[in-house]
Each structure stands twice: as structure tokens, then as C-alpha cells.
Amino acid sequence: MRIPGLGILKGMRQTGRNFWAPKVTRQYPEERPQMPDRWRGRLDLIYDPFGEHKCEVCFQCAQVCPVEAIDMSGFDSQGNRIRYGLPEIYEERKDPNAYRRAGLPAEPMRNVARWDEAIDTAWLGGVIDGFGARPEALIGIFSAVQERYGYLPERALRLISDTMVIHWAQVFGAAGLGGFRLLPTEGHLVTVCRCAACRFAGGDALLSALSDELGIAPGETSNDGAWSLETSDEVAAGAIAPAIRIDTMIYGPLTAVQARHLVAERRKSAAAPARARTASRPS
């Protein structure tokens, strides 16, 4: 036999007791929750076994984000500063404060892409027309532009994007492929492949040998501006690993001694005309 009201009183006793009990709510801004060590709830880039970021700054995530929430910048495999986001933020990104906030050295990097590049728009339009303004022709157009200017000026990429109605990020992403340069160089460029295959085949030794030979570290340019040393993820397929590229020529497979010899030969032939800027060969 149940006494009516007893169950209600039992519940009221519970709530009444809890009225005085210590509270369990976290007072958020003052009281921060202790996140577990394995907490995955924050965005973080992951590293490959070689200790480098796995993010290749390909912007694919930013492209597919439906609400355009991703706004990112970084350095591609050649050390160029590249970015994706609203155009009005680009300028802000060059601001020293923005660098500081991003944890980068406060002075702007030497290889920030330039906006004031003069581009022969009529010529570029002709090239695009010649290729038929199809997305798959991008590579051909890029190579034409690079042949003329020695690198891919940002203005030219913009123009290609606008003319061909291809998303800017796609143009930029395609330009990140091996073989294209996004900033002008003054002298010869030696690119050492850093793909997994080349590394296993002794790419690291190759790099240190070349660095020793040229007297510069990867990513630097020699004092006279004639030689630059860079690394890239994709100089060639693994079949000729380890490979290097001198300007547009690919060599491989090489041993460290061979590579050193090759570069030394080239340096001796000397006084090679700087190929950037001045080249104005018709396409």
C-alpha cells in the first residue's frame, strides 16, 4: 500500500537537500576545464616522421570549406609565402604585426610575392586563347609564363584566374606543382628533391654536399646572387632518385660526389646570364 504523496515528498526531500549541496557547474571564464592530454578538440597540424609539417598548404581544405571559414597562409615547399583567404586580408598578412602574431620573424620575408609586377596582359591573353581556356591547360599556360618571366608573377596568376574563370585557389594550387616558381630569382637555382624516395636514396647527403659546394644553406642565395639552393618535394618521379634540378634541367640519379662535380662544372662555365626578367622571348 502506497501512501499518496509520499513519493512526491521523497522527491522534494531530494531537491530540497540539493538546494544546499555544493554546486557542480563550472564557472567557465574564471574556471577553465582541465583538458585531457589526448584532447583532440583543437586544430593542430600533424608532423611526418621527418619532423616536418604534413600540411602542404595545398588549400584544398580551404577550397572545400562550404562556409569559407578557413583562411590560411604558409610556405610552400620552395619557401614561398602563399596564402588563401579573403583578398582584403592579404595586405594585412604582410604587416609585421601579422607576422608577429603568427609567430614568425617580425621583418617581412625576402620572398613575399609582389603585387606591382608589370605583366604583358595582351600577350597573356593570347597565350590563354591559344590554349583554349580550359582548366587542364593551366600547366601549359604556366610554363609559357614561366618561360617568359622566369617565374609566375602573382598578377599573371590573378589574370589567369579571372580570364579563365577558375577559382583562384585552384590556380594557385596548380602553380604550387614542382617546376614552377612563384618569385623571381636572379641567378641559377639548384633544387634538391626531398621526396621520400630521394631521401631514402641518399638525398640528404646530396643536399649537404651541394650546400657545402655552394656555400649556402637550403633556402638561401649566394652573396653574388648567382646561385640559389632550394628543396622541393617533387622534382621528379622516384625512378631517378636522388634527383636535383638546375633551373629547368633534371639530373639523376646522382651520388653526392657526382652532384658536387656537376654544380662545380656549371660554376666554372661561369658568367651565365641571369635568366630572369630580361627574357622576353616570344612564346
Binding site: 531537491t15 530540497g16 540539493n18 538546494f19 549541496a21
Partner: protein, 334 residues
């Protein structure tokens, strides 16, 4: 001159009372927010003002700032009228509320009758709101409110009749005077008190009898389509009614402004008024607290159980109570 004075006095009293409903509602809402939170092991609002005191006030201003939306197919005139009717019913019943000696706005001799007449008006407002909204939930909620309030008026009133028979008066002040002489009505009318409390919860749509709103079934019942200050009026009216019902229960069963023990003896003049106010509010808010406590504990009664309780339990009980009371009055010539 007398007429002018009377009109002035009337205007002053009504304005004061109308204005008083707003802080009353704020206090009761704040109490509900805070007490329920504490019972649910939360802190409740604690950011606006010291201890979050002004949270409900901010709620009030928020209502003012919100868009006042009227549905396309709603009946505009009645839709606008409904919140006022509900709110006025609550505010007008404040007129006879015996706060303290000398602090009754209208101390007339049928105060209890007036009170039950006026508080029952709110059902009209809810019914109109339900009908005017052009919404099925609103309509169901409005009809529920009509059924519920009409049924619960009867045991509610009958339980008070016992008090009236015993006290021999329909005036709140005299009833309190009677309680000063004979002890609180609580002792004489325990069954009446129980019926009154349950029926009054149902009358003002409080949990566990909040069929009208029933947020998990009818979204918000008749208030579904209301927004902004119009909803605010319903909201305030509900909490003012809670306070009023607690106040009336204090006056009828718990000796109104009387202190629970005779010391210090009932003061005279302004001091007496203040002392009475203290006790009146203390007791009233205690019953508000109990109502909030119930809300924190109980689930909602189903609509048929609710009606069954009114007609099958409370009404016979109230009748019996009245019979016994009347018999006792006759026999013992109280």
C-alpha cells in the same frame, strides 16, 4: 472636494499597485531562476548585478527590445487585447491584497468575492489568446486553460467558503482580525488549506498543473505566437499571480500580517504597517518558494488526470469540509 479627493486617491492607489506588479514579478522570477538552479545543482544567474540579482530585470528589458510580431492570419484586435486582459486580471486583484494594517488599497467588505471574481478573468484572456493566434497549439492550450480554470475555480472557492463561514466575514482585514483572536485559520481549516493550495496552483497554471503552457507538448500553449512585450505581459502576469495567490493564502490561512508569535505586541501606526509588511512578505514569499520547489521536483500531470482530480477528489473533499465546518459553526455556535 471629497469626490476629487476620492478620485485622486483611487488614481494614486491603482497607479502604485500597477507599478508594484512589475518589481513583484521581477522578484518572483528571480527567485524562480535562482531557487530552481540551486536545486538542480547549478548556480543560476550570477552575472548581472551582485549575485545575479538583476537577471530578471534584464529579462524584462529584453522583452521590450524584442520584435513584436503578430502572425499574418491572427485576429489582430483580440490578439493585442489578450495579454492586457491576463495582466489586468492579475494586477486588479492586487487592489484588495491586505499587505499590512493601513496598507490595503481598497478595503471593502466583499474583498474575497472581488478577488475571486477578478482572478478568474484571466481565463478569458488565455482563451482569447489561444483563439486569436491562429495556431493549433495555441488553440489547444487556450481550451485546456478554460477547462482547467473553470474546474478549479469551484474547489478553490468552496475551500475558501469554509474560512468565510468560520470567520463570518468577506473582508480580508476583518478575517485577519478574527485570526488574531482565535489563532490562524490553518488550525481550524487544515483540509481547506490543502485544497486551496492545490487548486490555487492549478488556477495560476503552475507546475505540476501547467497544462496550459506544457512546453513539451504544446510548445508554449496560448503564448506560442506571442513575442516581445506581449509575451512579457503573459509572463509577468503568471508570476504576479503566483505572488498574489501566495499572498491570499497568507491572508486567509496564515494570519496575514500577523507575526507568528505575539511579541512584540501588534504595533500601532506607521511602525505597525512596516512590521506587518515584513511578516506579510515573508510568509508570501515562503509559499512562492514552495511553489518553485514543487516546480523543481514534479513532472506535469496529464490533462485528464488534472480534471479528474478536480472533480473526483477536490470537489467532494471541499464539500465535505464545508459541511463539517458549517455543522461545527452551528453546533458550537462559534
Amino acid at each position: 472636494m471629497d469626490l476629487l479627493f476620492g478620485i485622486l486617491r483611487f488614481l494614486l492607489a491603482t497607479t502604485l499597485l500597477l507599478l508594484m506588479t512589475i518589481p513583484t514579478a521581477f522578484v518572483v522570477i528571480q527567485m524562480e531562476l535562482k531557487v530552481i538552479a540551486q536545486m538542480q545543482l547549478r548556480y543560476g544567474p550570477n552575472r548581472v548585478g551582485p549575485w545575479g540579482m538583476f537577471q530578471s530585470t534584464i529579462h524584462g528589458f529584453k522583452f521590450l527590445a524584442k520584435e513584436d510580431h503578430i502572425p499574418d492570419q491572427a485576429d489582430r484586435a483580440t490578439f493585442t487585447l489578450a495579454p492586457w486582459m491576463v495582466y489586468m486580471a492579475a494586477a486588479m486583484s492586487m487592489l484588495v491584497m491586505p499587505f499590512a494594517p493601513g496598507a490595503i488599497a481598497a478595503d471593502f467588505n466583499i474583498g474575497i468575492v472581488y478577488f475571486f471574481a477578478v482572478i478568474g478573468l484571466s481565463v478569458v484572456g488565455l482563451l482569447i489568446a489561444g483563439w486569436a493566434s491562429y495556431n493549433k497549439y495555441s488553440l489547444l492550450g487556450g481550451l485546456r486553460s478554460a477547462a482547467q480554470m473553470v474546474s478549479y475555480e469551484i474547489p478553490l472557492t468552496l475551500s475558501v467558503v469554509g474560512v468565510v463561514v468560520l470567520g463570518g466575514t468577506l473582508n480580508f482585514r476583518e478575517l485577519i482580525a478574527w485570526q488574531q483572536l482565535h489563532g490562524w485559520m490553518l488550525i481550524w481549516q487544515p483540509v481547506g488549506l490543502g485544497i486551496f493550495y492545490i487548486a490555487s496552483l492549478a488556477e495560476i497554471n503552475r507546475t505540476p498543473f501547467d497544462m496550459v503552457e506544457a512546453d513539451s507538448e504544446l510548445v508554449a500553449g496560448p503564448f506560442t505566437e506571442y513575442s516581445g512585450m506581449r509575451f512579457g505581459f503573459f509572463f509577468f502576469a503568471e508570476y504576479v499571480a503566483l505572488f498574489i495567490m501566495s499572498g491570499v493564502m497568507t491572508a486567509l490561512f496564515f494570519g496575514g500580517w500577523l507575526a507568528p508569535w505575539p511579541f512584540p505586541a501588534q504595533l500601532e501606526g506607521f511602525g505597525g504597517t512596516l512590521y506587518g509588511l515584513l511578516w506579510f512578505f515573508l510568509k508570501s514569499y515562503m509559499f512562492v518558494f514552495v511553489a518553485v520547489w514543487l516546480r523543481a521536483t514534479l513532472p506535469r500531470v496529464r490533462v485528464d488526470q488534472l480534471m479528474g482530480m478536480a472533480w473526483k477528489v477536490l470537489l467532494p473533499l471541499a464539500m465535505l469540509n464545508l459541511l463539517v465546518t458549517a455543522g461545527a459553526v452551528l453546533v458550537f455556535n462559534l
